[in-house]
């Protein structure tokens, strides 16, 4: 395995790892609503707003 391969592999691992982390984080934060462009975690605790679509 040469250096270039290692480099590309590293990029892929970073991209895929990043995606996996984002999926994990969205599940952890219950941030799975597709109906809203805001991150749910930004809206928690009445500050600044509660999500339109979240249950009480």
């Amino acid at each position: 395995m040469n250096l270039a391969t290692l480099f590309v592999l590293l990029i892929i691992v970073l991209i895929v790892g990043g995606a996996a982390y984002r999926v994990y984080r969205s599940i952890r934060d219950h941030d799975t609503c597709y109906g809203c462009s805001a991150k749910c975690s930004d809206c928690k605790d009445g500050n600044p707003i509660n999500c339109t679509f979240e249950k009480k």
């Binding site: 395995m1 040469n2 270039a4 391969t5 590309v8 592999l9 990029i11 892929i12 991209i15 895929v16 990043g18 995606a19 996996a20 984002r22 999926v23 969205s26 799975t32 609503c33 597709y34 109906g35 809203c36 462009s37 805001a38 009445g46 500050n47 600044p48 707003i49 509660n50 999500c51 339109t52 679509f53 979240e54 249950k55 009480k56």
Partner: protein
């Protein structure tokens, strides 16, 4: 801290004012039922104490008819410690009567109140002058005039709330005439023991109305003696209690209005223009053709011509360009072929297939948000209302159907505007039949490859969604828990107005966002996974970048594809379609990413545009266009993506019902796609075993819909199906 509740009719501008007050960006819409849950935020620049503003769903009254009315009512009544300190009652100044009807009810709750007269600009345009000081004098509480869209006057709301709180400016008691007032006097001693002091008058009024939720809280003897007092009143006035109160409230509202409105000379320009437009757009004969034409034009521009051209460019030029250059670079740097292929096909190919459709989606939503904001969509709802009630569904089911063109998740939650539980269940299950934005790229790809990207076909697929909802209404009515009463949709048609660019842009951004979010996460992950499963054999041997025949994925696909034989795409030579249908559960765009990863190697010709790859791929089947369409229909109707499934579960609150819902969706998808495919085959003169499938797919729903008690034979006829 002061808690202030925003109450008002749907569409009076509550959310607009809320956004101005708190600096939040919540979706507004020229559309009732946009706010289904309460939201809260702190008032920016509060004069003294912190003020927490709570935006409640829009309501017409405080009678518990629909879930949003119950949400608002519960919040306003609260219990003795936790009721809002101040009620901010927003009234559309151009539509005073309706607003005042609600206001009298809020006033009866004896909460310190601030009245906000919103839409002062509209009122002015139609030649009304609402005198805020006169209204304030009549009601005995602060009144603020605002233009929510421009933020005019909203800064005065904070001060008004603070002073209403400090001085406890509860509105003056509104008199409903001697007969009712006497009746209240007699009811109060009866309920005094059981009811909170501040609510005595309100509860008395509710008892006269015969409000079921209030009555249920009284003990039996109290309820009985209260009933007899009310019956006396009913005899005296010779009308039923509910009607008596409603009339009295309207009268009180009119009296208040007459005390504070002056009609100016200027003519109601925009209303007149709106009326003239409506005379054409809502014309008995023209309304439907115009609606079809509008939708056709929208799809003509956003998909067939401009949108597709841009997306094609991105898909076939930009993504290919990136792939080519990346391939060259990696080749010359001597990157290992497996790793290079993973990068090119898995990462770039999979994500690129989805990204390319963003301009198309954004364009479509620019049109739809425009139509919604300017006031046309609510008229479409008005037209569809009659059709829906005819099929035994609630007219309000249209709202989720229209929201569903964007995304099923908010649409499914939007079903909360439907009062009738059974009708709501039907809506929750059927809403995802409307093609959401994630399904649009699949539609575009297939209609593009086989039907010349015809806007006509695409428009028909949306109408097909509506038709499927209607048929489901008939079908599901035969099951317990789904037998609802049709209830018409009471709504006012707002005047047409020009949407602001900002609102349209916000809507477009919101609708397109999930695409970008998904592309970088779920789509990317599953594309890489699909690539891995399709590039290696069970023994871990790499197959090379143009073969998937012996891969793990092909084994899985071939093991499952028999399921779809009656639909035409179950042959082992098209196992990729089976796999794609399954990956659609993660997110519907995933179908596309999966096909992008799999098809190139299946076709074995490099560098073809995506659509031609698909045509080439399906050319091995006997009726390629029928197979493609059947595949499309199945995936439009079958169980939605995982996020929507979660939303369905949250709304149905039951595993059993969820399972039934998914089963119904998949079975329907299977049946309809089967009817299409087998019908197509039959029409082309091929009479075979498929005819049996055709008969089965048609007979089952027809039997259920036509028969009075389709499941009588299973339950021994015990199950009662009421009409």
């Amino acid at each position: 801290m002061i808690t202030a509740a925003l109450v008002g009719n749907p569409n009076c501008g509550k959310t607009t004012v809320f956004n101005k007050l708190t600096g939040a960006v919540q979706k507004t819409g020229n559309w009732p039922g946009v706010t289904v849950e309460r939201k809260q935020g702190f008032l920016r620049g509060a004069p003294k104490d912190d003020i927490l503003v709570v935006d409640l769903p829009g309501i017409y009254s405080l009678s518990p008819y629909s879930p949003d009315e119950v949400v608002s009512r519960d919040f306003l009544i609260g219990d003795s410690e936790s009721r809002p300190d101040v009620a901010i009652c927003i009234i559309d100044a151009s539509n005073l009567e309706r607003g005042l009807y609600l206001l009298t009810q809020v006033a009866d709750l004896r909460i310190p109140m601030v009245v906000v007269l919103n839409m002062m600009d509209v009122a002015e345009k139609i030649g009304m002058r609402v005198k805020a000081d006169a209204l304030s004098e009549i009601l005995g509480c602060p009144v603020v005039e605002t233009v929510g869209t421009k933020g005019q006057g909203t800064s005065a709301i904070g001060e008004a709330v603070q002073s209403a709180y400090e001085e406890r400016t509860v509105p003056r008691t509104i008199s409903y005439g001697n007969a009712i007032d006497d009746c209240i006097e007699r009811l109060i001693p009866i309920i005094k023991e059981t009811v909170r002091d501040d609510l005595l008058r309100w509860v008395s009024l509710k008892i006269i109305e015969g409000d079921s939720m209030v009555m249920a809280e009284l003990d039996e003897s109290t309820a009985a003696s209260a009933r007899s007092v009310v019956e006396e009143l009913e005899q005296q006035v010779s009308d039923d209690g509910m009607q008596i109160i409603a009339t009295a409230r309207y009268k009180a509202g009119e009296a208040i209005r007459d005390g504070c409105v002056e009609h100016t000379e200027s003519v109601d320009e925009s209303e007149r223009i709106s009326e003239r437009i409506d005379r054409i757009l809502l014309n008995k004969y023209l309304a439907w053709p115009i609606f079809a034409l509008v939708m056709f034009t929208v799809y003509l521009v956003s998909v067939q011509t401009v949108g597709l051209a841009i997306s094609d460019y991105i898909n076939d030029e930009l993504v290919v360009w990136v792939q080519d250059h990346a391939a060259e670079a990696m080749d010359s740097a001597g990157v290992d072929t497996v790793v290079a292929d993973m990068m090119l096909t898995g990462v770039i190919g999979g994500v690129g297939a989805v990204i390319g459709f963003i301009p198309l989606i954004a364009l479509l939503f620019a049109f739809l948000v425009f139509l919604e904001e300017c006031g046309y969509m609510v008229r479409v709802a008005y037209m569809l209302d009659r059709v829906f009630t005819y099929f035994g569904l609630s007219g309000k089911a249209i709202i989720p159907a229209v929201i569903g063109i964007g995304c099923s998740v908010p649409a499914i939650m939007g079903t909360r505007v439907i009062e009738d539980e059974s009708n709501r269940n039907v809506s929750i299950i059927c809403t995802s039949f409307m093609p959401c934005s994630a399904k649009l790229p699949i539609i575009t790809l297939i209609v593009g490859a086989f039907f010349g990207a015809s806007a006509l076909v695409i428009t028909s697929l949306y109408l097909f969604g509506i038709v499927m909802i209607l048929i489901s209404g008939l079908f599901l009515k035969k099951f317990r828990g789904f037998i609802g009463r049709p209830s018409p949709f009471v709504m006012e048609l707002p005047v047409y107005h020009m949407p602001t660019v900002r609102n349209v842009m916000f809507g477009v951004k919101e609708k397109s966002w999930s695409f970008i979010k998904n592309a970088g996460t779920i789509i990317l992950l599953s594309a890489v996974l699909i690539w891995a499963l399709s590039s290696f054999t069970f023994t871990g041997e790499y197959l090379g970048d143009s073969a998937t025949t012996d891969s793990i994925l092909s084994a899985i696909g071939k093991a499952l594809c028999w399921i779809f034989v009656p639909l035409g795409f179950g042959g082992s030579e098209t196992w990729e379609l089976t796999v794609a249908s399954f990956t659609g559960i993660a997110a519907k765009e995933n179908l596309l990413a999966t096909l992008a990863v799999l098809l190139d190697s299946a076709v074995g010709i490099d560098g073809l545009p995506t659509m031609e790859v698909l045509t080439e791929y399906l050319s091995v089947t006997a009726y390629p266009e029928a197979v493609a369409m059947s595949f499309l229909i199945f995936n439009l109707i079958c169980a939605p993506c995982i996020a929507s499934i979660a939303a369905i579960y949250r709304e149905l609150h039951s595993h059993r019902k969820l399972l039934l819902a998914l089963l119904y969706q998949c079975a329907t998808a299977y049946g309809v796609a089967g009817i299409f495919y087998q019908g197509y085959v039959l029409l082309h003169g091929e009479v075979g075993l498929g005819v049996l499938w055709l008969i089965l797919f048609i007979a089952v729903p027809v039997y259920v819909i036509l028969s009075k008690r389709p499941f009588g034979f299973i339950t021994g006829g015990k199950e009662e199906v009421q009409e």
